[in-house]
């Protein structure tokens, strides 16, 4: 019973904290640049404002455009039900659930790309093309990480892979898990359109990926998209933090460790964004294939 209660606590955190996570990232970047920066809860205010605003739709668009943000958010939120936050059992867990997890994120992406193409704008088509290119190269890296994790822990559900078996796995398969964690961090940056793959603050449509796809969304739709993007970052953060920290904790102490880890993740992302420049688009595949190769090397170490 305590376990189910715990997963509900985590679900509540998952639904409420993500905008704060982005606030922390932005605060770190501001501090690095010597600015004061926006308040930590800026995104909450943005979401509230956008939700109340009206929307404007292009005459070119159809229902696909309107369905994009809805499906995108719903798929990411459902994926959250499968995530074993902080190593506590997920709300919904079964063998091979991580495949569903990854494919739900894929569904969200598919819906977003189609909504972008529905506007008939060359810029949004460009963004969609980049998004599908980079994500389909990131997908094998993600699966190699998860397969490494499955082999190391002997479990094929997220709750088992990230659960109590993970600390033991760090004992006997540390190098492989370390490589997987590094690769996973790269995947998290790429999937969430952060530097060095995409610059969330850029102002030139030609260089954007995620931002350019949602150019035509406004009002409540944009709120759904922004919220969904923050949930996705939170999910990848939770996966990375649990994999990297892999400590044996439970109950409230586990929640505290998890939150501290997420804070660390946000600071890390902020740091990367402060000290790195965005890669040229042609170099991004190199980075993603490199991440795949690293995690594949981890898997090879486990399989020999």
């Amino acid at each position: 019973m305590a376990v189910t209660l715990l997963s509900f606590v985590y679900l509540a955190l998952f639904l409420t904290l993500p905008p704060l996570l982005l606030g922390v990232v932005n605060r770190v970047k501001s501090l690095f640049a010597g600015r004061q920066g926006p308040p930590l809860w800026q995104l909450y205010a943005d979401l509230r404002r956008l939700a109340r605003k009206g929307a404007v739709y292009s005459r070119t668009t159809t229902w696909v455009f309107r369905a994009g943000p809805v499906v995108g958010l719903a798929a990411v939120a459902t994926a959250g039900l499968l995530m074993a936050f902080g190593g506590a059992p997920a709300a919904l867990s079964f063998g091979g659930d991580f495949v569903l997890f990854a494919y739900l994120l894929g569904l969200a992406r598919f819906a977003t790309v189609l909504a972008a193409l529905d506007t008939g704008s060359a810029f949004e088509g460009m963004g969609g093309a980049r998004e599908v290119t980079f994500s389909s190269l990131a997908e094998p890296a993600l699966f190699l990480c998860l397969v490494t994790l499955a082999r190391a822990t002997g479990s094929i559900s997220l709750s088992g892979m990230l659960g109590p078996a993970l600390p033991d796995a760090w004992g006997h398969a540390a190098p492989a898990l370390l490589l997987a964690a590094i690769a996973l961090f790269v995947v998290a940056l790429a999937e969430n359109s952060r530097i060095p793959v995409d610059d969330p603050n850029t102002h030139l449509e030609l260089t954007m990926i995620h931002e350019v796809m949602v150019l035509d969304h406004s009002g409540p739709d944009l709120a759904l998209i922004l919220y969904g993007a923050s949930l996705k970052l939170f999910l990848f953060g939770a996966l990375f933090v649990r994999l990297a920290l892999g400590v044996r904790t439970g109950g409230l102490a586990g929640v505290a460790v998890f939150l501290a880890g997420m804070l660390g993740f946000a600071v890390l992302v902020g740091l990367v964004e402060s000290i790195m420049a965005r890669l040229r688009l042609v170099r991004v595949p190199q980075l993603l294939v490199g991440a795949s190769v690293l995690s594949a090397f981890g898997l090879v170490l486990l399989l020999r």
Partner: protein, 215 residues
């Protein structure tokens, strides 16, 4: 102790990947230097009771100085003088060569245990790491256009040979290792002279232009 050794081997392979994936020559030279420096730790970590401490120390310090400092410094100086920064348009692209390297590494780690060796293995990762590094060096030499990249390839190749040498270091006289290092040193030296000649002649460092010199 063993966990650290393992980590060193894994880092060596990670440097292999980086060497093939990066196009910036400075970063590649630094990675090669770091790999060389990391190699110099291994004789100490792998030393058995039978080994003479003087021999091991000489090997380690020799590797550190030559592979980690002198040759990289020479290469850095060379690219500064020739003012080249990037490997553009390699013969085999960065991603294909990285994937080829990954396949080689996977095969090396999967099948090296089946290889007949003259001496008992000191560490399970020694032979596959050596094979991977040799493979990386070969790939660099074959797939890159710039003369500097090829010298780096030779350097990495030599790193792999050095790793193989560690397998035998209890038996191998230091002279052999010194001879190999000397070869490499000579190679860098010759390449340096050749590079400057080509650079002065054609204001470019493509090895493909070397064939124009044959008359």
């Amino acid at each position: 102790m063993s966990a650290w050794t393992e980590m060193v081997f894994i880092l060596l392979v990670v440097f292999d990947f980086f060497l093939l994936a990066s196009s910036r020559l400075k970063a590649v030279i630094r990675a090669a230097a770091a790999q060389g420096a990391l190699l110099s730790v291994l004789p100490l970590l792998l030393a058995t009771d039978k080994a003479e401490i003087g021999h091991v120390l000489a090997l380690s310090i020799g590797a550190l100085v030559v592979k980690g400092v002198v040759i990289p410094w020479l290469l850095m100086w060379a690219i500064r003088e020739a003012s080249i920064r990037r490997e553009v348009e390699p013969i085999v692209g960065f991603i294909p060569s990285l994937l080829l390297c990954a396949v080689g590494v996977a095969l090396a780690f999967a099948f090296s245990s089946a290889m007949p060796l003259p001496t008992p293995e000191k560490h399970g990762f020694l032979v596959p790491t050596a094979l991977s590094t040799v493979w990386t060096g070969l790939l660099l030499v074959v797939s890159r256009r710039k003369a500097v990249s090829q010298v780096i390839g030779f350097l990495v190749l030599e790193n792999g040979v050095f790793l193989f040498g560690l397998l035998l270091s209890d038996f191998m006289p230091a002279m052999v290792e010194a001879g190999v290092l000397l070869d490499l040193f000579a190679a860098v030296f010759v390449m340096g002279i050749v590079m400057f000649d080509i650079n002065r002649e054609f204001s470019s460092l493509d090895t493909e232009k070397l064939s124009a010199l044959k008359d």
